[in-house]
């Protein structure tokens, strides 16, 4: 089996596989293939699944959706005001090309650093998106500016989260680092959400001025109250804690385990404290719009329900990750 795979075939497979998976997948393919043809056939069946696995692990579905939404808003903000007729299908193709390139860039990032992307794929994806915009008759400069702005906004919003690299595998020696890293993530999350809350309050307060008191005015006021409720809970029930110094290993384990469990409960209760406060405002706005545009009102309510459901699902996935962390801490507790 020394001639399977051929050097050229193995070089091709090495180049096409995500670096994180290449080591063990190439070994499995070499061990299980009796001929170059069988190697190629197995490789073709393995490649799409391995790439998709790394997209889900490194970019995450939530991250992709977030990046897609930001990119779409950036494109809409730039293309909508333009007077020339815009081929919206062309814009959708350009958007899809860019988001797919970013997903691949994440999947093919270097091993050992979970949140680093392959910059060459990002650059190639950007050029491909610009190329598709030019071919499809879109204003290329505006599209380039919109995609770049959206990418920068995504990085800024995600940066505090991804650059605080997780410490090494959990052990009695790294427990304190893990506990502090966890509290740091919670602090950044609360800061980000508080900033978003201030934006919601500001935007709705601007709508209140000059608006006669009625259903729409009430809905904006309810949104402000809802955002305030969320921000209060973020800094009370969902607040981060300072890891006490001088704790014994057993006490530190208990502290970290209890903190993970507390944040898990917070995530599971997102429909109550994060989404619930905005429901009255949505309903009042829907009632107000119903009298003049019933179709749009119904569509808006359905859209909001979908967005709320998606946010809830995202937090359920976050809760599963916390459950996994709690399991690791409990395993460490049993063995200590």
């Amino acid at each position: 089996m020394t001639d399977v795979p051929s050097p050229r075939l193995e070089a091709l497979a090495t180049r096409l596989l995500p670096p994180v998976s290449a080591e063990d997948v190439l070994g499995d393919l070499a061990e299980s293939s009796r001929s170059n043809r069988e190697y190629l056939r197995q490789f073709m069946s393995v490649l799409p699944r391995v790439v998709w696995t790394q997209v889900r692990r490194r970019a995450t579905i939530g991250g992709l959706v977030f990046h897609g939404i930001v990119a779409a808003i950036s494109l809409l903000a730039v293309l909508a005001p333009l007077e020339q007729a815009v081929a919206w299908l062309g814009a959708a193709i350009t958007w899809a090309c860019w988001v797919a390139a970013c997903a691949l860039a994440a999947a093919y990032g270097p091993p050992g650093t979970p949140f680093k992307w392959d910059n060459r794929i990002v650059a190639a994806g950007y050029l491909a998106a610009l190329g598709s915009a030019a071919v499809l008759g879109l204003p290329t400069l505006w599209v380039g500016a919109a995609l770049a702005a959206g990418f920068i906004v995504t990085l800024l919003l995600a940066m505090p989260w991804v650059t605080s690299a997780a410490p090494a595998a959990l052990s009695p020696e790294t427990l304190a680092d893990h506990a502090r890293h966890f509290q740091r993530l919670i602090r950044w999350r609360n800061a980000r959400e508080s900033l978003a809350g201030l934006v919601v309050i500001g935007a709705n307060a601007a709508q209140l001025r000059g608006e006669p008191v009625g259903l729409e005015w009430t809905s904006h006021a309810l949104f402000i109250v809802g955002a305030l409720c969320v921000m209060v809970f973020l800094h009370t029930g969902a607040a981060s804690r300072v890891v006490p110094n001088g704790l014994s290993p057993a006490a530190l384990l208990r502290f970290h385990r209890d903190e993970i469990a507390r944040q898990h409960r917070v995530l599971r209760a997102v429909p109550i404290w994060y989404l619930g406060p905005f429901v009255p405002g949505v309903l009042v706005l829907g009632v107000d719009r119903w009298s003049t545009h019933p179709g749009a009102a119904a569509g808006g309510l359905v859209g909001m329900a979908l967005v709320f459901g998606f946010v809830w699902w995202l937090n359920i996935k976050g809760g599963q990750s916390l459950a996994h962390q709690a399991g690791e801490v409990e395993a460490l507790e049993r063995h200590s």
Partner: protein
């Protein structure tokens, strides 16, 4: 509010073992059977043996292993490089306690299905020529 959150936690979080599909059950069985020798190639071969003569692709096994690891039913680690694989490491897999529980419940459900089906088929007389018909 904490009492309410605790209630929600115990209602929605403390649920039974993670349900698994048929192929996931087979892959978990292969990981269990292979013990310390469970890695991509051996798991693929064992799954192929369990599902014979139906062919199984290596890609399908990888996708299922990834899904099971995401559900925290199994865990994986990279071994030292091995000379017979061109100096490349193996990714070994091991069942977690949650995976054992999920497999146990899945096997119990499969056993109940088998007993029910065999009970129905064995009640049909072989020489009567009658075929079993569903209740309408």
């Amino acid at each position: 509010m904490l009492t309410g959150l605790d209630y929600i936690y115990y209602v929605y979080v403390m649920k039974p073992a993670t349900p698994i599909g048929q192929f996931e059950q087979v892959v978990l069985t292969a990981v269990l059977a292979l013990a310390e020798n469970a890695y991509g190639v051996t798991i693929h071969a064992e799954v192929g043996r369990l599902l014979a003569p139906k062919p199984v692709s290596l890609g399908a096994v990888y996708a299922t292993l990834d899904r099971l690891e995401e559900k925290t039913l199994i865990t994986s680690w990279l071994s030292d490089p091995t000379p017979e694989r061109g100096g490349r490491s193996k990714r070994h897999f091991r069942l977690q306690s949650s995976g054992e529980r999920a497999l146990r419940e899945s096997v119990a459900a499969s056993r109940r299905v088998c007993e029910t089906v065999e009970g129905i088929w064995s009640s049909l007389p072989a020489s009567s020529g009658r075929r079993w018909k569903p209740v309408r």
